[in-house]
């Protein structure tokens, strides 16, 4: 009796200079991954983590119930465990090996988000729940809870900026400067291109829908708290909480973080551009002090 062993297919991702290799024996999945992550492929670098994908028909790890998406993950210095409805996996940080067992209909993306959140934080970076774009060669980040306006901001900027994401970006700081990186993960603007681009991070805006466009300074500690609160996955696990607060502090120290009160039109860029040129801004009509 002979056993047919399929040739393993390798998908080498490089997101924000964190290379991760996915290995599958399923040609259809390989083709799907190659198409999905086409802009983020990089064969030239040694992977930090290699993840074996194993498809198991009928696999189920959490019984689906009505409510928000359930993703359980647990970080330890030696490794990471993960499970959701149709997939479960782990990563051993020491060996750089990981595995993901998945139902044929499951995807790798949620697992990758969790892996990247921890890879970033371990290395002093941050996966941030935020919209990111590049305008005139410089990076801008807009963040806030769901419904704050991240997708709206990117839609309104599409003709003047390169959209990196309306949902997740990666920030990495070194030497007092931060770099904004695009990620391939899908957000609400699922038809938008996900650009594998990077730019020096110019400023960060915490979105607040309002009747007027104006910027408001945020005290340093509040800025740190807001960034911490917008760090998916890692904020729910206290293992690296000091590191998380420190990374957010470094970002808030390197780049201005401001509250951006905005209504849903493109005029908010005039306020941002005016701020950068040092132009005085009119106070909002309701009498609140703008910056």
């Amino acid at each position: 009796m002979t056993t047919k062993v399929n040739h393993p297919y390798q998908v080498s991702l490089n997101i924000a200079d964190f290379p991760v290799m996915l290995v599958t024996r399923d040609e259809e999945m390989y083709q799907r991954l190659m198409r999905r992550y086409a802009d983020f492929l990089d064969q030239a670098v040694e992977p930090l983590v290699t993840i074996d994908l194993q498809i198991t028909p009928g696999a189920q790890f959490i019984a689906p119930r009505p409510g928000p998406l359930v993703i359980e993950s647990s970080y330890r210095p030696e490794g990471l465990t993960y499970r959701s409805y149709l997939e479960a996996g782990s990563v051993d940080w020491q060996t750089g090996r990981g595995q993901l067992e998945m139902h044929p209909e499951a995807g790798v993306e949620n697992f990758l988000r969790v892996v990247y959140a921890w890879l970033c934080l371990q290395d002093g970076g941050l996966l941030l729940h935020a919209a990111g774009l590049i305008r005139h060669g410089e990076g801008y980040v807009f963040f806030g809870p769901s419904g704050a306006g991240k997708t709206t901001t990117t839609r309104l900027s599409a003709d003047t900026a390169e959209i990196l994401s309306d949902d997740l970006v990666i920030l990495r700081c070194a030497g007092g400067e931060c770099t904004l990186y695009g990620v391939p993960f899908k957000g609400d603007l699922s038809d938008a291109p996900r650009a594998n681009q990077r730019a020096r991070l110019k400023s960060i805006y915490r979105l607040q829908q309002d009747q007027e466009h104006y910027l408001e300074p945020i005290p340093m500690t509040t800025a740190v708290a807001e960034l911490v609160a917008s760090s998916p996955f890692v904020v729910r696990d206290l293992t690296l909480s000091y590191q998380l607060i420190e990374v957010c502090r470094q970002i808030a120290q390197a780049v201005p973080v401001q509250m951006m009160h905005f209504k849903k039109d493109k005029e908010f860029w005039k306020v941002i551009d005016g701020m950068e040129k040092g132009l005085p801004k009119a106070a909002p009509a309701n009498g609140r002090a703008g910056n």
Binding site: M220, L238, S241
Partner: protein, 94 residues
């Protein structure tokens, strides 16, 4: 409760760090982030399991000279009880 013998410390599901005199607290169980004011941050910072409530109140009165000790003690107790209710802090009696 004899506050000289009560030692507060952070709840296992809470982590915090003081930045510019203000504490950023992560409450993992509640998925909440809180920022404390300067007096609250000092109380949080001293609540490390080695200072009693009375010692913390004394330090508040020392650093904020406009606050008499009796007021500092009452405020510290009230604040700590609130943090215990929110599962930010636990009290240990020795």
């Amino acid at each position: 409760m004899e506050w000289k013998k009560v030692y507060p410390k952070p709840h296992p599901q809470t982590a915090g760090r003081v930045i510019d005199g203000e504490a950023v607290l992560i409450l993992a169980d509640a998925s909440e982030i809180n920022v404390l004011n300067r007096v609250g941050s000092l109380i949080f910072e001293l609540s490390d399991g080695t200072h009693s409530v009375a010692e913390i109140a004394q330090e508040i009165a020392n650093q904020f000279t406009e606050i008499p000790y009796t007021v500092a003690e009452a405020d510290t107790i009230e604040f700590l009880e609130e943090l215990v209710t929110q599962e930010v802090m636990v009290l240990e009696e020795r």
